[in-house]
């Protein structure tokens, strides 16, 4: 059995600080966007089109990171875009995690026919390339926020199910589980009170990584205009706009790209860092 207290004594590594710090900043920016955004993210002003960021000449006060071709403030749009990115990360990540982990737990702990059914589904799912799956699902569901979330959950639940099943199997074979059974605990109760706490570190790691995947999937789909409606600010939408005008106004592409880059990197580094901390072999 793992000693959870042991985790806390190890010094927190630099990469956990950096990635955690960026994500905290991002969450704060997204939550307080209506109060801290300098401008209305949807306000257009063609006279203020393609203003450069503040350190270059020819700027207007208040437009810190410049404007796009329609004169919309880049910084404000990024802050509002962070809201959508984080909502998708949170909702899609959590739903995928709950469904995948629950099925993995049941398959790994109960074994027998539930395991056979769930494992068979996992095998079929893994044989189907994720990109094709995504194309099909979005084609069927139509563009939109919920389509993205559903597509992520439907495609990625196997990630959790596979790993948690293996972990639950290892835990289920241990003595402490047998003792709980001898002590008269119900199987379902044992699963929740004995197995679940012990696979929780793995679940947290997978969830963190999944959130990074969700952010990038949302960005890609809004980049190709298959996300929510075009006027709502999204990082992917901003990147698409910046991509077409990259020679005239690099800042429209660069700033949302930096935000997306740091966010994806932070989620993956946070996940990897947590994995190292939780791993008893490395401790």
């Amino acid at each position: 059995m793992r000693d959870a207290r042991g985790d806390m004594r190890r010094p927190v590594g630099l990469r956990l600080w950096l990635s955690g710090g960026w994500l905290t900043l991002l969450v704060a920016g997204a939550i307080f966007a209506p109060w801290i955004a300098p401008k209305d993210p949807l306000m257009q002003d063609l006279f203020l089109g393609r203003l450069p960021p503040f350190w270059e000449s020819g700027t207007e006060p208040g437009f810190w990171l410049g404007t796009d071709s329609l004169g919309r403030d880049v910084l404000s749009r990024m802050l509002y875009g962070a809201r959508l990115a984080l909502v998708v990360a949170l909702v899609a990540g959590t739903l995928t995690c709950i469904i995948g982990a629950a099925l993995g737990l049941i398959a790994g702990y109960y074994r027998g026919w539930p395991d056979r059914i769930i494992s068979r589904f996992v095998d079929i799912w893994m044989a189907f390339p994720p990109v094709l799956f995504a194309i099909l699902l979005i084609a069927v569901l139509g563009p939109g926020l919920w389509s993205i979330i559903i597509a992520i959950v439907v495609i990625d639940w196997t990630r959790f199910a596979r790993v948690i099943r293996a972990e639950a199997m290892t835990q289920g074979a241990m003595d402490y589980v047998a003792s709980a059974q001898v002590a008269g605990r119900k199987r379902f109760g044992t699963m929740l009170t004995e197995i679940l706490p012990n696979v929780l570190p793995t679940i947290v790691v997978l969830l963190t990584l999944e959130m990074g995947i969700a952010v990038i999937v949302e960005a890609i789909l809004s980049f190709v205009n298959l996300s929510i409606s075009t006027d709502s600010p999204t990082w992917g939408g901003m990147i698409a706009e910046g991509r077409t005008s990259v020679h005239q106004a690099w800042w429209v592409l660069v700033f949302p790209l930096i935000a997306l880059f740091l966010t994806v990197l932070s989620f993956s580094q946070l996940g990897e860092g947590l994995k190292d901390r939780f791993d008893p072999v490395l401790r």
Partner: protein, 328 residues
Amino acid sequence: MRLLTTVITLFGVAVIVFVVIRVVPGNPIAMMLPPGATDADIARLQAQYGFDKSIFDQFLIWLSGVLQGDFGTSISLRQPVSRLVLNRLPATLELSIMALLMAVLMGGALALFGTRFRDGKTEGVVDVTAGMALSIPDFLWGLVLILLFGVLWPVFHISGRISPALNVDFTTNFYLFEAIARLRFDVMADLAAHMFMPALALAIPLAAIISQLLKQSLKETMHLDYVTLARTKGYGENHVITREALPNAILPTLTLVGVQFTFLIGGTVIIERLFSYEGLGNMAIDAVINRDLPLIQGIVILFALLFTIVNLAVDMLYVVLNPRLRHA
């Protein structure tokens, strides 16, 4: 046996694709007609595309067509799906193969380098580089490359497959292979300048995976007796790594490259879009935006077929390269 499971997988994909597509809410026929169309017009067009029959009949008609190479007619482009798809396939294949070559070269070099200078600072640098490269997806690498080689130091083309000004008449759609075969170096250079960035973006994450796994297997192999024997024979470290350890260490990497290559082909969908590269993936996104069901079906089936062929090829290559299986 292997072939039979392949056929069953493909059939499964066909069934899933067909059924999923038929659940689509919204009538694709209605979107093709102008707003003033009468019910009779709609019925006539539905009959033309076979939408008036039962789902099972539609599937049988569609499947027998697919087996004869007839994927139906694209709703948005009004051309046979098979022709559209086959015209675009060579572009995607060239891009994928180019990306695979780059990934193998970069990943292999990184792994050999890390093994040669193992247990030192250099290996740490290699590990961190691979780790970073891996945690950033190809889409983001593509954007970074556009900024680097398209804007800051504009040496490569950021969109398209070939400069229209070149005006070359190709007999096939394999532009690059044909240019190589016809020794048209100017055309080759132009194609490469277009292909370089999308291929590199696809290659970077795969290169990272290859380097990590190959380095690990190399390090394990380096402890084996026959490697020690080669050292006592007086061979240098470079010879020992490339001639003795590599042939043995390469097999696990090969299996992984097969699986990862199918992911790379999947990645072309978004990368082709990003670089306005006229391939199958770019067409797939247009098909989804236009909800062009016959075209989506055709593209998905073709991708599935491609993945299956890659997996089969890797299995066969494994047998060829594995000395234990070669004589079995």
